[in-house]
Amino acid sequence: MNEFKVLTRDSGNAVVMELHGFLDAHTAPELEKTFTELIGKGKYNIVVNFNELNYISSAGLGVFMAYIDEVRNNHGDIKLTNMQQKVFNVFDLLGFPFLYEIYKDQTEALRKFGAQ
């Protein structure tokens, strides 16, 4: 079975969520759980680092769609960074770059939150 792992850590006024492995219909609930926990703690400035993510399907993309409104309504954002080309291609096909901020590097995303 392909593994999936989420690691979170605070960085200034933001939280960095590092995704590892394979994000599909089987592993998406784990990502949902992490978002629910962060939002439950009132953490709305979220940077998602995709550097170690090898695969994403629409079930994974749906998780970002499910939480973005609540996060933005609370003056936060979900910013996406460090995507491998094949993962970016999937986001791109669905028009995500028009609706989500996607950065090459997590430092840029953290700077946008003012959380160096």
Binding site: M1, N2, F22, D24, A25, H26, Y55, S57, S58, A59, L61, G62, M65, A66, I68, D69, K86, N89, V90, L93, L94, G95, F96, F98, L99
Partner: protein, 152 residues
């Protein structure tokens, strides 16, 4: 002088049965990945084909079988000449995508409606996507043609 060439497999026919649960998805991907590679596709095409099949199987598991752990579905791969065909067959609730209007995907993403993204991706990633009912079975047929590959 060319280096040793990996000889592509021009004729493929293999079918495998999987449990209708999401843990099967990684096995489905490995199965498709291996055959797409042997057939002569490059990395990008292999990723695209694998994703399209994952989406088809996810729909079967989530919608046709609604997570029933006793259910099973079949994935058949037929490669011939330049045509690489994957047939996903299930015996669950049928689905008629032709009756669903083509969604404006950007609007869907904007309104955070995830349903329908899988079908949209399948159609974007493959050269042909067809749904058929055959008796009590439903079939999704996905086709991708090998382009600029070794001579068939």
């Amino acid at each position: 002088m060319n280096g040793p060439e990996v000889k592509r497999v021009e004729k493929i026919e293999e079918s495998r049965t999987f449990k209708g649960v999401t843990t099967a998805l990684s096995d489905v991907r490995a199965f498709v990945n291996r055959h797409a590679f042997n057939f002569g596709f490059g990395d990008k095409e292999i990723s695209e084909i694998t994703l399209a099949v994952d989406e088809a199987c996810t729909n079967v598991i989530k919608h046709a079988y609604k997570g029933d752990p006793e259910s099973k579905f079949e994935v058949k791969i037929i490669g011939s000449g330049k045509e690489f065909e994957i047939v996903v067959r299930d015996w669950g609730a049928s689905f008629k995508p032709e009756e669903v209007p083509v969604p404006n995907i950007r609007e869907k993403v904007k309104r955070h409606k995830a349903g329908g993204l899988g079908i949209f991706l399948m159609r974007k990633l493959m050269d042909a996507v067809e749904y058929q009912e055959k008796g009590s079975a439903n079939e999704v047929r996905l086709v991708r043609y090998l382009k600029d590959g070794p001579k068939a």
